[in-house]
C-alpha cells in the first residue's frame, strides 16, 4: 500500500506529462502482481466500493476528533481525504496491508460493516497510506492522471500501440495479470473476451487549427454538431451496450434506448432528449438523465432519450471502419431506415459550396440545440483517437456578457485558500438606481497569475463574510468587471434572475471597465430562446 501511496503523492506533484509516464511505467515495472493490477484498476476508475461514502468518513472521523477542530481543519486543507488522513488519531501499524488486501477488504465490506473495515484500515496505515486508501475507497483519485494517460503508460511499458490496449480493455478485469503477462512478453495477447466491446471513437480537431484556404470544400461533408453527449451503441450476439466516448458503459442509465437496440451493429452518435420526429431537447433536459444509477418511470416518460447517428462502425459481422466516410454514410442511412424512428435518426448533412456559405449557416443554425458544425473528409476511414486532418469541429462562437463580481468562495483542491469561485451579476431595475442581480458562477477561464490578482482584489474589497464566502464590494462606482463567456441560456425558476447560464467561464478580466458600464439583465433576456 505504501508504494501505491508514494505513487499518488509523486503524481500529484509532478507537473510534466513525461514525468508522470515515467512514474507510472516505473510502478508497473517494479511492483509485482496482483498489486500493480489493482493500482492500474484504481487509476483507470475500474474499482468501485459503493459501501464507502465521504459522509461515512466524516462521521468516523468526528467520532474520534472534535467536530469543531475537524471543521477548522477541513476548511483550511480543502480536501476531505487529506484532512481525514492527517487528523486521524493513529500512528499507523508496523504491518501496513498490501494494496491487494486493501482492495479485498473493501470489496467484501457491506454497507453495515464498511465503517468498521475502513476504520481498521485507517488505523493500520501512515497518513500517506490513509490518503491513498480513502481516495481508493471513495473513487476519483484526482492525481492529474487520466485513464487514457495510464493506458498510454501501459502501452509504453509493453511497447505496443495504445489502441491495442483500448480495444482489449473492456474484456479485461482487475488485477489484469494476463494483460501484464502479454506486455512483458511472458504470455499471449489476451483474447477480446468482452461481448459487444467498445471501439475507440474518432475525435475532431478544432477548426481554428485548420487552414481553410488550403482545404477544398468539395472534399468535405458537413453536419450539425448537436449539443448532447457523444455515445456508441453496440449490439452483438444479443449483448447490448451503450458507451460514453471514453468507453464507460452507461447502458444502465438508458434502458429506453437500450431496449430499442434490436440490431447487430455498432453506431456512433449523439445522445439527446426528446423525440427525433418532433423535438430535440436542450442539454439541461439531457442533464436530468445523466449520472443516474436508476431511472424512474416518470423520468423515462418526461425525458425520453434518442440517438442522432453520425457514423457506422460495424454492420452485422462486417467491420466498416476502414471504408471511406462517403461509403459508410449511405450504409448508415439505409441501416437507420429499419430502426424505430422514435429512438434513432440520421444526423442530417448540410449542403454547402464554399466555406463562407458554411460559416453563414454555422452562425445561423436552424435549431437552438446546435453548437456548431462538423467537417468530415469524404475519403477518410474511421480512425481511433484524434487524427489530424480528416475531421474538424467548428463551434459556434461563445456568447459573452460583461458582469460584476459579487461574491467569491474559497476553492478546493489545488485552489484551496484562494478565492477562486466567483458569483457575478448584471444590472437590473431602474436605470437611475440599478441593483446587481446574480446570473451565474464561474470558477475557471483565468490563469494562475490572474487568480492571484482576483484573490487579492477579493481580500482587499471584502464587505461581508459568510463562512467560506466573501461578499465583494460592487456598486455603481466600484467593482470588478468580468467578461463571461457562455454557451447558451436557459430559463430557470431556481435562480432569482430567471436565467441559467450554460458552461459559463471567465474570458477576460476587465480591470479597465467601470462597474456601471457592465451589461444589464435585458441584454441576457434578449438571448433567451423563445418560449
Amino acid at each position: 500500500m505504501e508504494r501505491f501511496a508514494e505513487l499518488l503523492d509523486r503524481l500529484v506533484l509532478t507537473p510534466a506529462r513525461n514525468g508522470k509516464l515515467r512514474l507510472l511505467t516505473d510502478y508497473f515495472a517494479t511492483v509485482p502482481d496482483p498489486d500493480r493490477g489493482y493500482g492500474l484498476a484504481a487509476l483507470t476508475g475500474g474499482l468501485d466500493f459503493p459501501a464507502v461514502k465521504p459522509a461515512m468518513l466524516r462521521t468516523l472521523t468526528t467520532e474520534r476528533v472534535d467536530p469543531v477542530l475537524f471543521a477548522y481543519s477541513y476548511d483550511y486543507v480543502g480536501d476531505l481525504a487529506e484532512t481525514v488522513s492527517l487528523i486521524w488519531p493513529a500512528d499507523g501499524g508496523t504491518e501496513a496491508p498490501a494494496l491487494s488486501h486493501v482492495v479485498e477488504r473493501l470489496s467484501h465490506a457491506s454497507r453495515s460493516d464498511a465503517p468498521a473495515v475502513m476504520a481498521k484500515l485507517l488505523d493500520q496505515l501512515s497518513p500517506s497510506g490513509r490518503f491513498a486508501a480513502i481516495k481508493l475507497a471513495t473513487g476519483g483519485l484526482r492525481v492529474g492522471v487520466s485513464a487514457r494517460l495510464t493506458k498510454q503508460a501501459l502501452a509504453e511499458f509493453g511497447g505496443v500501440e495504445i489502441q491495442e490496449i483500448e480495444e482489449l480493455w473492456h474484456g479485461l478485469t482487475a488485477p489484469y495479470s494476463d494483460l501484464f503477462a502479454w506486455l512483458e512478453g511472458k504470455g499471449p495477447k489476451p483474447e477480446n473476451a468482452a461481448q459487444a466491446p467498445f471501439r475507440p471513437v474518432m475525435l475532431a480537431h478544432p477548426a481554428a487549427e485548420a487552414d481553410f484556404s488550403a482545404l477544398d470544400p468539395e472534399a468535405y461533408a458537413a453536419e450539425w454538431k448537436w449539443d448532447g453527449i457523444r455515445v456508441q451503441a453496440v449490439a452483438e450476439g444479443g449483448i447490448r451496450r451503450l458507451y460514453s466516448r471514453t468507453g464507460d458503459d452507461i447502458s444502465g442509465a438508458f434502458p429506453d434506448l437500450v431496449e430499442a437496440m434490436d440490431f447487430d451493429a455498432a453506431l456512433d452518435g449523439e445522445l439527446l432528449v426528446g423525440d427525433p420526429r418532433s423535438t430535440t431537447g436542450t442539454f439541461s433536459d439531457l442533464q436530468q438523465r445523466l449520472n443516474r444509477k436508476t431511472v424512474s418511470r416518470a423520468m423515462l416518460a418526461d425525458y425520453p432519450v434518442f440517438m442522432r447517428c453520425y457514423d457506422l462502425l460495424l454492420l452485422g459481422e462486417r467491420d466498416v471502419r476502414a471504408l471511406p466516410y462517403a461509403e459508410r454514410r449511405p450504409q448508415l442511412a439505409a441501416f437507420l431506415a429499419e430502426l424505430p424512428d422514435d429512438r434513432f435518426d440520421l444526423s442530417p448533412e448540410i449542403a454547402f459550396t464554399s466555406w463562407q456559405e458554411l460559416d453563414d449557416k454555422r452562425c445561423h443554425p436552424p435549431h437552438p440545440v446546435i453548437e456548431g458544425v462538423m467537417l468530415k473528409r469524404r475519403d477518410s476511414p474511421y480512425l481511433p483517437g484524434r487524427p489530424k486532418g480528416p475531421w474538424f469541429k467548428w463551434k459556434r462562437d461563445p456568447f459573452t456578457v460583461d458582469a460584476v463580481l459579487m461574491y467569491a468562495q474559497r476553492g478546493h483542491g489545488k485552489r484551496s485558500s484562494f478565492y477562486s469561485d466567483y458569483t457575478f451579476g448584471v444590472w437590473s431595475g431602474p436605470a437611475e438606481d440599478p441593483v446587481l442581480v446574480p446570473v451565474g458562477k464561474a470558477y475557471f477561464g483565468f490563469t494562475d497569475e490572474e487568480l492571484r490578482q482576483i484573490d487579492k482584489y477579493v481580500r482587499d474589497n471584502t464587505v461581508e463574510r459568510f463562512g467560506p464566502v466573501r461578499a465583494v464590494r460592487a456598486d455603481l462606482g466600484h467593482g470588478l468587471v468580468l467578461e463571461i463567456a457562455f454557451e447558451g441560456l436557459n430559463r430557470s425558476t431556481r435562480h432569482k434572475s430567471g436565467i441559467a447560464m450554460r458552461f459559463p467561464r471567465i474570458s477576460r478580466l476587465r480591470w479597465d471597465k467601470p462597474a456601471h458600464e457592465a451589461d444589464r439583465i435585458e441584454t441576457l433576456e434578449a438571448m433567451l430562446p423563445a418560449g
Binding site: V12, D66, V68, L69, E82, T83, K414, S417
Partner: protein
C-alpha cells in the same frame, strides 16, 4: 495579585507592558522594545532601545546595520533584569539561534511570552525551556490537528534519496534565510553529506555568523558567481530563500528540482500551489502535538493564543478545561516561515 491584563496587553504597536513601559516584538518603532528573535516580523529596525539576546542583537545588526536601534542591551539567558519594577527574564525558545521566551513578572503575576518556538531537536539552537507561569502566551502558526511535522532527519533522507535518484538535476531547497537554511545544512552534515552546499547570496552573512558562534556547516559556496567554472555542478544542492526558488534566479541551474523545507509542506495542495516537486516537512514552529503538549506542561492558569490559527487552539483549550483567549496582534506574517 496583579491582573494579567494590567501586566501585558495588546496594542496596535504590539504586546505592551504598562508598568514597565515596554513592548515585546513591536511591529512599529517604539521607545523601548524587547525582542524574542531575529525574524523580520518580530525584530524591526528603528526602536529607541532594544533588549534581546546577544545572538538576536548580532542578527539584527547583520540585517539592518549597526545603527538599527538607538541603544541596545544584551539579555543573558536565565538572568533577571528589572525594568521600572517589572522583572524580565529571557529563556531559550528552541526556534532559531538566539530565540528566547520572555518572562515578565510584577505584583506576584508572571506571564511568559514565548514568541515562536518548537520542541523538536535542532542542532543550531538551544532547546526550549518550560518556565512555570500564570499566563502562557503561545504562537499558533501550525495550530490545527492536521499539522504533524515529520521527523526532520527522515525528511533530509528524502532529499538525499532524490539527489541520488536524479543526479542530473539541481536540487534547490527553499528555506527561510535565518534559522531554517542553517538547520537544513546542519542536518545534511549530520546525515553524512560532505559535498559543497551552494547558498544564495541572501544566506551568506547569516551562515558565516552561525559558523562564527560554533554551528559547523561544512563546505559552503555562493551559488551565483560571475567567473566560469564555479557554478554548482548538476546534482548539487542549492539552498535559497523560498521566494528565489520559483523565481528567474533558479532557472540558471541544471534542470532545477524545486524543494521546500517548511511545515506548510504537510498539506499536498500547498506544495502543489507553489510548484514544489519535493516537499520537505521541516519546521521551526511547534506542530499541533508540540503546542498542545507544551500548554499542558506549562500548567498556566490561562493561555493567550496569538498569530496563526488562534481559534483552533482556543477550542482545544476549552475542551481540555484550560482558560484561553485569542490575543489579536496585527503585523505578524502567520503564513511565512
Amino acid at each position: 495579585m496583579m491582573q494579567p491584563r494590567d501586566l501585558l496587553r495588546s496594542r496596535p504597536e504590539g504586546l505592551y507592558c504598562p508598568p514597565g513601559d515596554f513592548f515585546i516584538d513591536p511591529v512599529r518603532p517604539v521607545a523601548r522594545a524587547l525582542v524574542t528573535h531575529g525574524h523580520a516580523d518580530h525584530a524591526r529596525a528603528g526602536h529607541g532601545s532594544v533588549l534581546a539576546t546577544r545572538e538576536t542583537l548580532d542578527i539584527m545588526a547583520l540585517r539592518y546595520g549597526e545603527d538599527f536601534a538607538g541603544a541596545t542591551q544584551e539579555a543573558a539567558l536565565g538572568e533577571t533584569v528589572s525594568i521600572d519594577g517589572v522583572r524580565v527574564t529571557f529563556h531559550p525558545a528552541g526556534h532559531v539561534l538566539g530565540s528566547a521566551q520572555i518572562a515578565v513578572e510584577a505584583g506576584g503575576t508572571r506571564i511568559v511570552a514565548s514568541g515562536d518556538y518548537k520542541r523538536s531537536t535542532d542542532p543550531t539552537c538551544a532547546a526550549f525551556e518550560p518556565v512555570p507561569c500564570d499566563v502562557f502566551i503561545t504562537e499558533a502558526t501550525f495550530a490545527l490537528p492536521v499539522f504533524i511535522h515529520s521527523n526532520a532527519e527522515e525528511e533530509i533522507g528524502h532529499l538525499l534519496t532524490s539527489v541520488r535518484r536524479f543526479p542530473e538535476r539541481t536540487h534547490i531547497v527553499g528555506a527561510y534565510a535565518l534559522g531554517k537554511a542553517q538547520r537544513v545544512i546542519a542536518l545534511l552534515r549530520k546525515a553524512g553529506y560532505s559535498e559543497t552546499v551552494f547558498i544564495h547570496g541572501a544566506l551568506v552573512k547569516l551562515c558565516a555568523y552561525y559558523e562564527g558562534v560554533g554551528v559547523s556547516l561544512g563546505p559552503l559556496q555562493p551559488a551565483t558567481v560571475e567567473e566560469d567554472g564555479a557554478a554548482p555542478p548538476a546534482g548539487a544542492i542549492v539552498v535559497a530563500p523560498p521566494a528565489a526558488t520559483d523565481d528567474r534566479w533558479s532557472r540558471r541551474f541544471a534542470d532545477p528540482l524545486s524543494c521546500f523545507a517548511s511545515g506548510w509542506m504537510r498539506i499536498r495542495q500547498r506544495a502543489r500551489q507553489r510548484g514544489v516537486e519535493l516537499p520537505l516537512i521541516i519546521s521551526d514552529h511547534a506542530d499541533w502535538g508540540e503546542l498542545t503538549d507544551t500548554i499542558r506542561e506549562m500548567g498556566a492558569a490561562e493561555v493567550w493564543v496569538t498569530h496563526g490559527r488562534e481559534e483552533a487552539l482556543v477550542r482545544w483549550c476549552e475542551l481540555n478545561g484550560i482558560a484561553a483567549k485569542p490575543l489579536h496582534i496585527a503585523g505578524y506574517e502567520d503564513e511565512a516561515e
